[in-house]
Amino acid sequence: MTARIDIPAFKRVPFDDDVAIIGENLSAATFLMHVRANRGDTGTPLITLGNASPPSQGVSATYNPAYQWQEDGEILTAPASLVRIIIAEATLEALSLGTPYTEPVELFYDLHATTDTKRVQFEGKFPLKPGVTI
């Protein structure tokens, strides 16, 4: 089942975070990610991200055969892919705030990853926070 991950972003700063996916090697995958105002919209996306190597805007993945994380107080080790999403500050600045502007704009996204098959790796809300410092 596709994982649900909400990715909050701030309007005034770049977005640069990653998601670890245990057990998969997506280092050679083709990525495509759209950000839209609503699920199901078919027009031009608010944001379009494809494969790009950091620090460029886009999506990239690295494979770690011995990725470690903590779960229930125990340190676990397993192969994992780190999917990194980078959205430039200018891209986020170009998005419009909602009404009232003091509240985050609730947008939506999902990430396609194509290896031998095309799948939605994860999806969810993309809350755009207005921020304070400009």
Binding site: I5, D16, D17, V19, A20, I22, G23, W69, Q70
Partner: protein, 249 residues
């Protein structure tokens, strides 16, 4: 920054806890290494506790019955067994569970100066040689020469030795617990007897034939009254001509 981890069992929203966990794991590893290093050389209540706290090859002490034993990790037999060591106000006292082993000055007992192997709490300050053979003695000397010797064995024999003349010395021997006190001269030459002196002047001698010689001679008085007037004390010897007299009045 990792904001989530997707596993077979679902999504783990762990950021920034993942980073913190990794930091915590590294910190824990560093702390464990530091603890292992600090564990060596410490004193533990039991071998099990010390062995658990240390790693292979590390040494630790175990306090037991007032004594301290040195162990190496992984070996249940102590490497070294030490007696109890107390140091107080500059006085060194080494004790064993069955009595004092060695005491050098004891502020708690004025009768103790240098003592070895004392039994009981009210012992007299003395030096004892713990020996199972009468052939072994305790010697005292100065300037590299032995001057006095306490022999072992069942008799109490104290010898005084003259390093410049092996024919001169003396010996005090007490046989058993109710024996007669004997003062003897041990000489290899018939020419040496026993000389009693005051300020390096011989006053009395016993020659090798057992004859008593009053070196200064006995004073000559006709009777006790005359001897008293002449300064002879009561119970002292004097002569009347060739007759030996004993002043009784």
């Amino acid at each position: 920054m990792t904001i989530a981890i997707i596993t077979e069992s679902g999504v783990r929203k762990v950021a920034p806890m993942v980073l913190l966990a990794q930091q915590a794991a590294a910190a824990a590893q560093i702390a464990a290494q530091a603890a292992a290093a600090a564990a060596e050389g410490r004193i533990y209540a039991s071998y099990a506790a010390g062995n658990a706290a240390t790693t292979a090859g590390q040494y630790f002490f175990v306090a037991s019955g007032g004594a301290y034993d040195l162990y190496v990790n992984g070996t249940a037999t102590p490497v070294v067994k030490l007696p109890t060591l107390n140091v107080s106000t500059g006085i060194l006292e080494i004790t064993k569970a069955a009595g004092d082993f060695a005491v050098f000055g004891n502020s708690a007992d004025a009768n103790r100066g240098f003592a070895v192997n004392i039994s009981g709490a009210a012992g007299v300050g003395l030096v004892l040689l713990d020996t199972t053979s009468a052939g072994y003695a305790l010697g005292f000397g100065t300037d590299g020469d032995e001057k006095m010797r306490l022999l072992g064995g069942s008799d109490i024999t104290l010898q005084f030795r003259n390093p410049t003349d092996v024919n001169r010395g003396g010996e005090i021997t007490v046989t058993g617990s109710a024996g007669t006190g004997t003062f003897a001269i041990n000489t290899t030459s018939s020419g040496y007897g026993l000389s009693f002196q005051i300020d390096d002047a011989e006053k009395l001698a016993i020659d090798t034939a057992g004859r008593i010689v009053v070196t200064a001679g006995l004073a000559n008085y006709a009777n006790d009254a005359a001897a008293a007037a002449g300064g002879i004390p009561l119970k002292a010897l004097y002569r009347n001509g060739s007759v030996v007299m004993y002043r009784v009045a």
